[in-house]
Symmetry: C2
Subunit: 432 residues, 2 copies
């Protein structure tokens, strides 16, 4: 962890190492992924099966064998504690209720009597959601991807998840059924992304692929973008806590560590107008670190990408926050709503002293899939918007076309597109 | 042009050539673009200047010299006919009025007394719009990109346009000022995209880059995606006309040709339940082709990528349309609103016999930047949505956290993320 002063003339330089922790994809990874995609496009199911058996150490004879059965999901429900099922149910309900509010309606404007214009909103027809395997296989990821798709009205949600050594997380299966996932395949990596993007005999081509994954998954999503839609490109996770000296140092230390325990590349930053408060938080982090089961990960993250920054006033603090556009932003100040309108770039904003980031990670309602690494400047949280698309509606009556025809033809002509103009004039003059 | 019957057993195979006309980017183009991006990242303005002078045959001494001055725009206004200025003004007004309806409000839900959840909508802070140079330099493209950005509230819109041999289209400059563009640079290609994505001394880094361009521009946009946002990845343009035998063959022929005149890769398809009507359209296309100034382009497109398809009934027609997800879809039928709800995938839908696609291209109001090549399955028309982003708002009071805390901790624990749980429990029990 590094202590910094935002008014120090070397601040930008000192802070640069933390900002640049996300690595760009090497060309080697890209080549591996390109080869896998090409193989899946050429040989379909056969290639998916080969890669899956090889990478996940399985011995499946067909893709069908890799589809999770209803019985397996029933078994997961029997195995998982009922309190856990209840907590996941509560999460699904709350996430669904929040995302319902994001739905947009088709509209048609009738403010002109001879022209109607509108926008039709339709759900994507089929989407794929990627759920990582092994230790990073989280039921909350399933919920955060599948529920918005189902709220949007997507008829078919296909989930893929690698199962290294054959193991599948029962909580993930429970979350999948509770969220309304339609089919689940035990496949992962670039081969799963390629199968969803291009389709195989068994796995139907989807319209969009969402969900987190390792560098191979992220790279393959980027490479199939355009063939299908994808959600944002996610890098390592981060939190920025804004503080004005109010609140409890131990609480903020706990929030910083909840981010740091994710992985060694995670970054936790506190910026405060009260340097003394910052020092207390630093001491609390040390004390709490020693008590964590994931101490070594959290410590590595905190050592390398942790920072406590002091600033002269909240304006400086907010300017800094807008500049780095944090994924998670806690406004741990006495009056968080007073500064909300000044926040220009952030994935999710946690207001006040009783809203730890963890509250938003699971069941407050908003999505936990958020733009990282400064991309909150232009990306939004995953939402119902990601699972619908829009079509413009244009209706001209004969009189509407008569009214605007002359100007349409004029612009067509100044652009040198004569046939565009003629498609209008032929309807105006009766000159077929 | 090819006549096809959708019920022919070889239909899919026969139609495949038309579907696959968009080429994928070769690795050679990608390497050229990667080199340009690397040079701009390393040497900034200097590299942009070198490439610009070389590719556009200029002799500029600095990037500043490449910025278009207010005097140049004044001069364009003096040179352009007042009727043209009026037509462009009308387009700007109508496009702005339509896009105003797309604006979304920040909302905050107060349905729980101890937890508030919401979504804040904020404009991107700076965007770049790309306008092609030379013959494809269209004022309508400027309007369709800049107006939605300004309606969204983007404070700074930077336009880039290559000027081969120094020439700049005066209509483009007029459209830029009318649309509210803030700065214009005479630069283009991958070097312009790289400058906007990474920033140079003179050109500030933007949050998003939109607008059409050649293969180098499209490839560089795809490569900088993630560093900045981009709009959709556009391929060659297309139109699908749905017909039930009603209407006038000459009108539909004119619409097909308005698409075909764009470029040789454009595709114009009519699908009709009335084969005789289709034959009349074919004859009309031939007759009208001979009268077009862009005959050779339109003929090349029509010969290679034109099709007239007959189908047994409108259900078959609609199923086909949803499958290919056309960029432009004309419902040239007697009752277009009756089939609108069955349309699942389309960029823009032109209703009835008096709405030629050209009406939507310029000034009806909706955007003419539309998803091509089947990507209307998941992409939407360019809109105000592209120039804003959202942040989730999460507020828990102490009682709200007490109410949900137990379930948050439970999910954190089943995911093995202990520090997540502790950031909640530390606030509940007073156990710092």
């Amino acid at each position: 962890m590094i202590f910094l002063d935002i008014d120090d003339k070397n601040f930008d330089q000192q802070f640069a190492a933390i900002l640049s922790r996300g690595e760009e994809t090497g060309r080697e990874v890209e080549q591996v992924v390109l080869d896998i995609i090409a193989a899946v496009r050429q040989r379909g199911d056969e290639a998916v099966l080969e890669y899956t058996n090889r990478f996940d150490r399985l011995d499946a004879k067909s893709i069908t064998e890799l589809q999770v059965t209803d019985e397996e999901i029933d078994y997961a429900f029997a195995k998982v504690k009922s309190e856990d099922i209840d907590a996941l149910k509560l999460a699904v309900e709350r996430v669904a209720r929040f995302h319902e509010k994001q739905k947009q309606e088709t509209w048609l404007s009738t403010e002109e009597t001879d022209i109607m214009l509108g926008q039709m909103v339709t759900p994507l027809q089929r989407v794929g959601i990627y759920v990582p395997g092994g230790k990073a296989s989280y039921p909350s990821s399933v919920i955060m991807n599948a529920v918005p798709a189902k709220v949007a009205g997507v008829p078919e949600v296909i989930m893929v998840a690698p199962t290294p050594g054959g193991e599948i997380n029962p909580h993930v299966l429970v979350a999948a059924r509770l969220s309304g996932v339609d089919r689940i395949f035990r496949i992962g990596g670039a081969q799963a992304v390629a199968a969803l993007a291009y389709g195989t005999t068994t796995i139907r081509k989807v319209d969009k692929i969402t969900g987190p994954g390792n560098i191979y998954v992220a790279t393959s999503k980027k490479l199939v973008f355009g063939q299908v839609g994808i959600d944002m490109i996610a890098g390592p996770s981060e939190i920025l806590v804004i503080n004005d000296g109010s609140g409890t140092p131990g609480h903020i230390a706990a929030d910083l560590l909840s981010q740091a325990e994710h992985d060694e590349l995670a970054s936790s930053i506190l910026i405060t107008t009260d340097r003394g408060f910052g020092e207390k938080v630093a001491a609390e982090v040390e004390r709490q670190l020693a008590q964590l089961s994931r101490e070594s990960i959290a410590r590595a993250s905190w050592d390398k990408f942790g920072a406590i920054i002091s600033a002269a006033n909240l304006d400086e603090v907010i300017e800094f926050s807008n500049r780095i556009a944090p994924e998670h932003l806690e406004l741990a100040v006495s009056d968080p709503f007073a500064i909300l309108p000044k926040i220009k770039n952030a994935g999710a904003i946690f207001m006040g002293h009783f809203t730890p980031e963890a509250a938003g990670d699971y069941l407050a309602g908003p999505n936990h899939t958020l733009p990282t690494g400064g991309t909150a400047r232009f990306f939004s949280p995953l939402s119902v918007d990601d699972f619908v698309k829009k079509s413009s509606i244009v209706y001209f009556s004969e009189s509407g076309l008569n009214r605007l025809g002359k100007d349409i033809i004029r612009i067509a002509e100044l652009e040198g597109l004569e046939a565009h103009g003629k498609s209008v004039s032929i309807r105006l003059g009766g000159q077929e």
